[in-house]
């Protein structure tokens, strides 16, 4: 019964979670306080671990809560619940897009959507920059630039454009430089 409950809870959260981590965290919090599966402190730790490890927070929380309440199979059940809505929805949408890719309606919709996505990528650049290269707002006097962050940014830019180094090498190098520049200097 606990397996069914775990599965359903995370299925629901995933289905309602438009917008990824930032939306999923409050949804999780509500479920946790209702079911008393784990303590608030444990949940805070899950959020912290998720920010420090590469995995998506939704999967990390599902795995952790599942294991804590029903062992390893609980963890797997909860994770599957979390993945299943995305799996089904994406495959349906991918099928539909593929089927109608030649139609004028689909083409015109995509012609509107594609530039908007470039705008969203632009926002992602600003978002990451605001947590590393600058702080405060770009638009008023709270703005302040971090020259260490800017240095890493330009180094990776040059290494990628000129020497085509792999994104994973870039990430590893950035991590190392981050520790050296921000922690030891």
């Amino acid at each position: 019964m606990i397996f069914l409950q775990l599965f359903w809870t995370f299925f629901k959260i995933s289905f309602l979670g438009f917008g990824g981590g930032y939306v999923i965290v409050p949804l999780l919090e509500a479920e946790i306080s209702q079911n008393a599966w784990i303590t608030q402190n444990e949940f805070a730790d899950i959020v912290a671990v998720s920010q420090m490890t590469p995995g998506p927070i939704g999967i990390n929380a599902a795995t952790f809560i599942g294991i804590r309440t029903a062992g390893i199979f609980g963890g797997i059940t909860a994770s599957i619940g979390m993945i299943l809505p995305s799996l089904i929805l994406v495959i349906i949408v991918a099928h539909v897009m593929d089927r109608f890719k030649e139609s004028r309606i689909m083409q015109s919709i995509l012609q509107g959507i594609r530039p908007a996505v470039i705008g969203l990528i632009g926002f992602a650049v600003l978002f990451f920059a605001s947590m590393s290269i600058f702080s405060g707002s770009l638009l008023d006097e709270t703005f302040s630039l971090s020259f260490k962050g800017l240095g890493i940014f330009f180094l990776i830019l040059i290494l990628t454009v000129k020497f085509k180094i792999h994104p994973i090498s870039s990430i590893a190098l950035s991590a190392l430089l981050g520790i050296v520049l921000f922690h030891f200097l």
Partner: protein
């Protein structure tokens, strides 16, 4: 033979993405672009952009949706499963270890520094991936305007990315589907044939 190589590459690449992308959704874009668009040519720039649009407008975890879509495109439903399993192995094993060992995590200053470094580098990587995709998509003044407006909408007005995509879909359908607007691409001569999507369709 060829097909099993596809599965292996999908699995390996998403395993890497799962293990190395810190900071969620968009941080994995440079890796996906490099592996599947630039290197293997399994996905075109336009398709990559479409995948981001879908991933942004459906509910659920962004990384999971992106892996499912790419996996499906490369090798069908089994490809989607292969990709998502590869993506999740690193985080699930890490969190399982954590759940059993359970040590309380504090804000470790060393980890914080590491993160600021990674974000600085990832900013550069996303910028480059964005430029690469943007070159294919922003081909006339209207598309540049649409990109600028959607950037302003999410950044300054705090509008949800999914809503921006839905609005852009309506604008696209109205302008290009209903009114059949045909805008001259940058760098094309007036007399030159406009190589738009509609142009191609009209020929057939």
């Amino acid at each position: 033979m060829e097909q099993s190589r596809h599965f292996l590459i999908l699995f390996r690449t998403f395993l890497k993405i799962g293990a190395f992308t810190l900071g969620g959704g968009y941080a994995m874009l440079p890796l996906m672009e490099r592996e599947f668009v630039s290197r293997r040519r399994w996905i075109t720039e336009e398709e990559m952009v479409d995948i981001i649009a879908v991933v942004q407008s459906l509910p659920g975890i962004i990384a999971v949706k992106a892996s499912v879509f790419i996996g499906w495109k490369v090798a069908g439903i089994m490809g989607a499963l292969t990709a998502v399993i590869g993506l999740l192995i690193p985080s699930i094993s890490m969190i399982t270890l954590f759940a059993y060992l359970y040590v309380s995590i504090q804000d470790n200053p060393l980890v914080q520094s590491l993160f600021i470094g990674v974000r600085s580098g990832v900013t550069a990587l996303i910028l480059l991936a964005g430029i690469k995709l943007g070159k294919k998509v922003l081909t006339d003044w209207l598309s540049v305007l649409l990109a600028a407006v959607s950037l302003a909408a999410v950044w300054l007005l705090d509008i949800h990315a999914g809503l921006v995509i839905i609005a852009a879909a309506f604008i696209g359908y109205t302008l290009f589907g209903v009114f059949r607007l045909n805008i001259k691409a940058f760098g094309k001569r007036k007399t030159g044939k406009v190589q738009s999507i509609h142009g191609k369709e009209d020929e057939s």
